[in-house]
């Protein structure tokens, strides 16, 4: 499925300064029972966001109306644990288009890239700067430029570059996915398979 194109994103950010946020927190397993990709945003961070009786936990950042925006900023090692793409779907479905952290777990990063959510890895120092800027002023805007591969704190103009391979960058800029690419080389794959016994 092709996804939204990503070019330049300018938005305020939602800070979650916790390390090792695992995908069981992003979306608990009991919400993985759907057979369609729908409604996962409602259960994003379910158990941090709601009490067992489904009333909101007021101190949790998603329940604090002063924080909003399309960018989620998380602590080191974001997205560890289960391979559930539902975690990336929940992030997307809630309305985030970009996750910023100083370190991402591999599978979560891949899953994000495969659905058009941009994972932006910054240095621990720059992550700290973002957290401090957002803490000081929740309306602080970040600008993420995929063509330039830069992230900027607009208020202070502090910025940093981030890495993404050329292939994925091109895909995200155009909203292409890997299956489009692979279906185009099916002949080559079939030839390869002939030489590869079961």
């Amino acid at each position: 499925m092709a996804y939204d194109k990503f070019n330049i994103l300018k938005s305020s950010a939602v800070p979650l300064p916790i390390e090792n946020v695992d995908t069981d927190q992003i979306i608990p397993a009991r919400f993985l029972k759907a057979t369609e990709r729908k409604g996962f945003g409602d259960n994003l961070f379910r158990d941090w966001r709601y009490h067992p009786d489904n009333t909101p936990k007021e101190q949790f950042v998603l329940n604090n109306p002063i924080y909003k925006g399309k960018i989620l900023v998380g602590g080191k090692n974001f997205g560890s644990g289960s391979s559930r793409e539902h975690a990336a779907w929940a992030v997307y479905d809630y309305g985030f288009r970009c996750v910023v952290s100083s370190f991402f777990a591999d599978i979560f990063r891949n899953n994000c890239l495969n659905i058009g959510v941009l994972p932006v890895q910054v240095s621990p120092e720059f992550l700290d700067k973002i957290f401090r800027a957002v803490e000081k002023n929740p309306n602080t805007e970040l600008e993420i430029s995929l063509p330039e591969q830069t992230i900027t704190i607009l208020e202070t103009n502090e910025n940093e570059g981030f890495a993404i391979n050329d292939y994925k960058k091109e895909n995200m800029l155009n909203g292409f996915d890997d299956i489009d690419f692979l279906l185009n080389i099916e002949k080559e794959i079939r030839e390869f398979a002939e030489d590869t016994p079961l």
Partner: protein, 469 residues
């Protein structure tokens, strides 16, 4: 040029290399389960494509299945719907489907090796992070997301950059009471949950050479818990003996040809790894976790580390202990527990049940403990019965459930209640992993058994010595 084991398998499966991009990797065998596949099948439908190689694809129901009364219709409507979707999708695409009640049904990472789907030098993927289990056979095996499941169904390939390589060597003899689970929890406690992110790990040294195939599976299974893409162990005679004659293993001339390839699967002597780490076996004690990620583990006799002695975020560490209702410096030994879970793709095999039985034999389940013992497959369940382990369990006051992932991720009814402590042989102690508010202590089957009969965290070596005396 000299190559690592990982290089050899990866390079031989590279269909195309994209400059400053990923490699196109051909996947030999694809395992599918009910939770991460329905949206992928939907994707195929929307694109109007079929599964390219159904004969390389195998489907089982495990994540979202009850472990009691599997012969009855599944009560939870959403779960039943998901199971039905997998059954229908498998049928529509000619994929073998081993649903509830099928003799080959079980946890995807248990039945792969059992049926000879898992082979040395193969590339194996599944929409489940513990796919790394299959690396025990010298395969490149790793978990993928649903977009990638769709990719493999439709094109038998994925696109990923090649991981960096890491070798973890452990020589020496393991101490008494130290199991493969302890070895893995020890490594993760040293590396942290992100210490191997970006790497594919090869385990080497005497400890892994001496280990059984099932032990190797436990170790490779937990590779993802230190962030690694996967883990693998070079195949040897033990590996070949294990797989020979299984249903999906090559036969006759094909076996001989495969053996020629398999015997080349080792890291060349002068192969260079991006990172090398070494431990000695004698350092490792029976382990237990005290926090909310698998890296928060320690020797069972130790005290919970002080926050200021822990690398990284103090706030995160304190939040974790608060969730567990533990304090810095406390001993874990003697802490009362409520539940014991034996099972999962980590420790749901016959050797795990043998280990558990060795401790509970002649003892009784503690009254304060609810124990869920869940075999990894029907084959494991069968062995538990034929080896007389079921009788031992019954005599000690335990019941056996039916196969599935069960309380490891608590998608079904097997949920640890809020605030309760579970000593669990599974793989993750994340907040709420085993049910909202549940508190998990990860440990080996021996530690789980010791907890089950004493009702508290107990060093299994104490009970083993009694047996010896």
């Amino acid at each position: 040029m000299s190559k690592t084991l990982f290089d050899k398998v990866w390079d031989s499966h590279t269909v195309q290399r994209i400059e400053n991009g990923p490699d196109v990797i051909f996947i030999d065998r694809h395992l599918v389960h009910e939770v991460t596949s329905p949206v992928a099948f939907l994707g195929l439908k929307n694109r109007g494509v079929k599964v390219l190689y159904p004969e390389r694809t195998f489907a089982t129901a495990d994540h979202n299945t009850p472990t009691l009364n599997q012969h009855l219709p599944v009560k939870d409507k959403l779960s039943a719907n998901q199971l039905k979707a997998l059954e229908e999708n498998s049928k529509a695409h000619n994929i073998p489907y081993w649903g509830l009640g099928h003799e080959k049904n079980g946890i995807v990472h248990v039945i792969g090796p059992e049926n000879g789907i898992t082979l040395p030098g193969a590339t194996i993927v599944c929409g489940d992070s513990h796919t790394s289990t299959h690396g025990a056979f010298g395969a490149i095996a790793f978990g993928i997301g649903t977009s990638e499941v769709e990719m493999v169904l439709s094109t038998q390939c994925i696109m990923q950059p090649k991981a960096k390589s890491m070798r973890i060597n452990i020589d020496g003899d393991l101490n008494i009471g130290v199991t493969p689970k302890d070895v893995a929890l020890f490594i993760i406690s040293k590396l942290t949950t992100s210490g191997a992110t970006g790497y594919f790990v090869e385990y080497s040294g005497q400890v892994f050479r001496d280990m059984s195939m099932e032990g190797r599976m436990t170790v490779c299974n937990l590779s993802i818990e230190m962030g690694a893409r996967g883990g693998m162990i070079a195949p040897d005679e033990k590996t070949f003996d294990y797989i020979k004659g299984r249903e999906y293993t090559p036969k006759g001339a094909a076996w001989d040809k495969a053996m020629d390839y398999w015997q080349t699967l080792y890291s060349d002597e002068d192969a260079v790894f991006d990172k090398e780490i070494a431990f000695t076996a004698s350092e490792i004690e029976p382990m237990i976790t005290y926090g909310t990620n698998p890296g928060m583990g320690m020797g069972i006799q130790n005290g919970i580390p002080l926050a200021n002695a822990v690398e990284g975020g103090n706030a995160t560490y304190k939040k974790s202990l608060e969730y567990m209702a533990f304090n810095e410096g406390e001993a874990m030994i003697g802490k009362p527990i409520d539940f014991v879970f034996l099972g999962s793709c980590t420790n749901g095999r016959i050797e795990d049940f043998r280990a558990f039985a060795s401790i509970i034999k002649g003892r009784k389940k503690a009254d304060n403990v609810t124990a869920w013992l869940v075999p990894g497959s029907h084959r494991v369940e069968e062995a538990i019965k034929t080896e007389g382990i079921l009788d031992l369990l019954h005599e000690a006051g335990f019941e056996l459930r039916e196969p599935g992932c069960s309380a490891c991720l608590a998608m079904n009814d097997d949920k640890i209640p809020a605030g309760k402590y579970a000593v669990s042989t599974s793989n993750r102690n994340f907040e709420g992993r085993q049910g909202p508010g549940s508190r998990t202590l990860l440990a080996s089957p021996l530690v789980a058994a010791a907890a089950a009969v004493t009702g508290k965290v107990t060093d299994p070596r104490e009970l083993m010595q009694e047996v010896i005396a």
